[in-house]
Structures are given as C-alpha cells and as structure tokens.
Amino acid sequence: MTVELFLQTVVNASYAASYMALIAVGLVLIFGVMGVINFAHGELYMAGAYAVVALYAGAGFPFFAAVAIGLVFVGLLGLLMEYGLFRPLRENPLGGLIASIGFLLILQTIAVLGFGVRMKNVPPSTQEKIVFENGVVLTYQRLYVIVVAIVLLSALWLFLRKTKFGWALRACAQDREAAALQGISINQTARLAMFIGAALAGVAGALTAPLVSPTPFMGHTVIITAFIIIIVGGIGSLEGAVLVAILYAFVNTFVTTIYDGTIANIVGLLLMLAVLIVKPTGLFGAKERA
C-alpha cells in the first residue's frame, strides 16, 4: 500500500465515519430514551435521501435547503412513529421493534411507488474538490458530510450536557421511572429523542444522496452497519457509538481497499458477534439494560 493510497483511504474512511456516526447516534438516542431498537432507522436514512431526490434533483431547490427540509421531514416521520407505534407499545419492548419492521416495509413501498425501484442519480451540488499536494482528493460533497456531522454531533453533545431538555433526556435514558418522579414528562422527552434521532438519520441520507445513488432498499446495508456499531459500542452509549463508528469505518474502508467488500462485511459482523459473546454490554456500555 502506497502512502498516497493510505492517505486517500484515510480520507474516505473519515467520510464514512461521519455519516455512520450520525445514523448510529440517532439509533442509540432512541434506544436510550425509549428502550426500543428502531429497525426502520435505515429507512429513515433512505427517506432523507429521497427528500433530496425530490426537492433538489427534482424540484430544483438549492442543495442545502433540500437537506434542511429533509431533516425536518424525517424528524416528523420520527414523531409519527413515536406517537403511532412506540407510545402505545411502551410496555412491550419487542412489540416496538416488530412494529418498526412493519413501518420499514411501509416506507420502502412508498419509495418504490413514488420513485420506482431503480437507482436515482442525484447530481453533485458542487464539482469542486480539494487536491492535496500528494494527489489525495477530497470532494466538497464529502467534506460537507464531515463538517455537518461534526457540527451536529457537537451541538447534540452541548444540548445534552448544558440544557434542561438535554438533562431530562439523559435522566430518562438512565431511569425512566425515577425521571418521571422528578416531574420530567416522559412523552415530551420521547418525542424529543425520536425527533432528534430520526432527523440525524435523515440528514445523513440527505447529505450522502449525491454520493450513493439512492434506491428504496438502501436502508438495509445501513441498518446492519448501524447495528454493528451500536452493539460494539455498547447499546445506550452515545460516545461509544461515535468512537466505534470511526473505528468501524476505518477497519471497513481499509479491508475493502486491501481485500474486497464482502470480506470487509464479514469482518464487521464477526467483530460484532465476538463482542456479543465476550462482552454483550459493548466496549463502552456501562451496565446491562433489562
């Protein structure tokens, strides 16, 4: 492996780490507050991508306006899920998971009916790129993803640490009943977590739409990767999700570059199985959740 290839792979891995972190953090946030694994998370990502397909590639909106609308739209989808599925099934954790599988099928079908099963090509919002002196290339489109991920995740971190809502959210994640006894509204907190979690997946899909050619089934690979990340990182640990997203993206990108994509996927899944066997709470998870 030459130095140029190595550096290029590092750049590619950073991009992959950024959008995977956005998706995985959303998934962890939803699990932390509601105790539900959202199987439809990959389809929320897909919905974000299709928002850009419709608004930017179709209706000719400016790229970032389309991304912003996509963020809000997917956040609202999250609210719909919270209100329609997860709230009535709060006493039944497996029920929420199964209901989200039903929702996933519905979202997929809507995408198929609305846009067809073929891949959609989204033109890049800019052709500009940074070329480093040793020939390593970073397109602006990828740079956007990295910058937005860093900004949004930092904002989320500040929100969780510094604001009252953030404290309430973390309290709910630690112990829902104790939080309710302190006067924290569980419904409001769940809404907030679901909106943020879904919107993060949506913004990841919207930003990467020009890079990945959206299809209605693009959520599938994403959800598997997201599962690997949150299991290895420890379900419920936001920091773990970010760190493992970075770790996973680097391992995956390097193995793909050196060997091939299938081996990279198998390595990722084996890593997850190994963690599940040796330390089911994950590398950064503190305690077993019931």
Binding site: L94, I98, G102, I224, I266, L269, L273, L276, P280
Partner: protein, 346 residues
C-alpha cells in the same frame, strides 16, 4: 386441555378425517398457478411451525430463513454434486441445517432476548455473505445461486407412475412430509421436553434451580427447529429447481415473523393460522386488485395493526368465537327451557 371423553375422541377422529379429505380434495378445486402457491404454502406451514418450537423457549431468532436456506443449499448440492437420490439428500440437507444450528448455538445461545435477536441476525447475514462471496462461487454459485437442481424422482408403483413435476403430486408429497413433521413437532411440545421449553421461557431461573440444564434445552429447541426449517428448505429447493441468497433474505425472515405474530405463538395452530390467512389474503386480494408492488406495505400495515390491536394474534379470536357460539347455543337452550317451565334464566 379438554378431557378426551369417548364422544370427544370420536369428534376428533371425525374432524381429522374430514380435514384430511378436504386437504386431499383441495388442489383439484384450484387453478394451476394456485396449485403452485398451495405447494409453497404447505412448505411455509412447516417453516413457521418449526419457528414456533424455537419461540417456546422465549427466543426470537432472525436467522430462521437463512437456516431454511442452509437446508435448501445443502440438499441441492448433495443431490447435484454428489449424485445422491433426492429423498436422501433432503434428509441430509435438513441434518446439515441442524448441524449448523448446533455449531451456531455455542456463540448464539450465550445471549438472550434482544441480544440473541441481533446475534442471530448477524450470523444469518454472515452465512448469506458467504453464499454471495465471489471466492465461493465454485460451490454456492455466487449471487445467482444454484440452478438446475435435480427434481424429486418419479415413483413407479405397479402400473401407477407419479410424476412430481405436477404441482398436485408434489403437494401430496409435501402434505405427507409436513403432516408427519407437524405430528413430531406436536408430540415434542406435549412431551417432557416441550414442557421444559415452556418452563425455560417463563421461569428460567427456577428451572435451573431444579436441575434443568437450560443451555442444553435451548440448544435442543434450536437444533430441532433448524432441522425442520432445513427440511422445508429442501422441499422448496427440489420443487422450484433454483436457490439463491436473496430468496432467504431479511425480507423473507420478516414474512416468517409476520405469519407467527399475526397468527399468535401461544398455541400450536396459531402460526399455521397466520400463514394461511395471510397467504390467502395475499393471493386472493392482492392478485384480484393487481397491486403486487403494494405487498410489503400491506404486510407492514397488517403487522402494525395486529401488534397494536391484536397482540395475541388471530389464535386469540378462536376461543372468543367458540365462546360466542357456545354462548348462543346455551342461551337458546336456556330460552327453550325457560319457555317450557316458565322459569327465568339466571
């Protein structure tokens, strides 16, 4: 469980004979394409019933479709590459699925509940990736899978020759295999082993403390359910003639899950009810409306509606309907009596 009085036993026997007659007559009332669906439905009945045996121990696997695929791939390869007769390869295929489940149970059954769900999902995806892997194309055929799988051989019995290319005959073959399998599954559930599965589901610590090796029993449930899922896969492979990794994907697993959940898993007949109801709905309603693309949405909606409003599945309606019918009969009897003796019914 209702007591088996002589009258009750007679009713059971009569019911079984009627059901059997209906099942034998059924394909002759259907069109050719419906007969083909009937074959697949029969195979799916076995698939979902084998899945239920695993859920008895309280575990929900996401690898069951892939395990069915192992049976399909193994039986196809054994008959095609090694040239063994198809009935033998089917049993060997099912045994391969059971063997792989045995090996997988060492890592997977260390987990429970949600972790088991995700772990089985990962294990299934790894197996599917191996099927698709370009390095293994010489064996598994890559994403295109295995084609030209030998069909079930014709049977020459005296002057009668049975051609299994005909879906009606293959349906009868499946019916025999599936009925036999369901009988075995039912006996297992009603045996000591089955009661232990229930005990592990509801009171695993208590079961452990009275000396039940819970790991071994959970492994047993996993292996038995894998054997019958593999058998379903083998029946499928030699009927359709091709297998490929996408036939055993997460989507297919989701359908198994939907059948089991919509039907309910508390009774033996629940999942069977689910798969029959949804297949009939699918074939009759969707085909009539010609909206095949809507299928996943309909299934998703049914799944959500049933988990929200009918969390115990279709099977929970059966006692209600029975009770309603019985109640009506009782009321009628009471009303008649009341009219005769002029006494108000209580």
């Amino acid at each position: 469980m209702p007591e088996r009085t002589a009258r009750n036993g007679l009713g059971w026997a009569l019911g079984s004979i009627l059901l059997l007659a209906a099942l034998i007559a059924l394909p002759h009332l259907l069109s050719h394409s419906q007969q083909e669906i009937l074959v697949l439905l029969t195979i799916n009945v076995l698939l979902v019933s084998s899945y239920r045996l695993l859920t008895l121990t309280g575990e929900w696997s996401l690898a069951h479709a892939v395990i069915m695929g192992i049976g399909a791939y193994a039986s196809a390869l054994i008959s095609k590459q090694l040239g063994l007769p198809v009935p033998v390869s089917m049993l060997l295929g099912a045994s391969t699925a059971a063997l792989l489940a045995f090996l997988l149970s060492f890592p997977l059954l260390r987990m429970k509940g949600f972790y088991f769900l995700i772990g089985s999902f990962a294990a299934g995806e790894i197996i599917r990736l191996v099927w698709k892997w370009s390095e293994m194309t010489w064996l598994f055929g890559g994403p295109k899978g295995i084609k030209l799988i030998p069909p079930f051989p014709d049977i020459e019995l005296l002057s009668l020759s049975v051609d299994f290319y005909d879906p009606v005959n293959y349906y009868y073959l499946c019916l025999i295999v599936v009925t036999l399998s369901l009988f075995i599954l039912y006996r297992i559930e009603r045996s000591r082993i089955g009661l232990t599965f229930h005990a592990i589901h509801w009171q695993d610590k208590l079961a452990q403390s009275v000396g039940v090796n819970t790991f071994r029993y959970r492994m047993l449930a996993f292996v038995i359910s894998a054997f019958f899922a593999g058998l379903a896969g083998a029946l499928y492979a030699h009927y359709v003639g091709t297998v490929n990794p996408n036939r055993f994907s997460v989507e297919d697993m989701v359908y198994v899950l939907i059948w089991a959940i919509v039907g309910g898993t508390a009774t033996f007949y629940g999942p069977i009810l689910g798969v029959i109801a949804l297949t009939v709905l699918n074939e009759v309603v969707l085909r009539a409306l010609d909206i095949d693309q809507m299928r996943p949405m309909l299934y998703g909606a049914i799944l959500i509606v049933s988990i929200l409003f009918l969390p115990k599945g279709l099977e929970s309606l059966v006692p209600k309907i029975k009770g309603w019918l019985a109640g009506r009969r009782d009321r009628r009897v009471v009303a008649k009596r009341g009219a005769k003796t002029e006494q108000p019914a209580q």
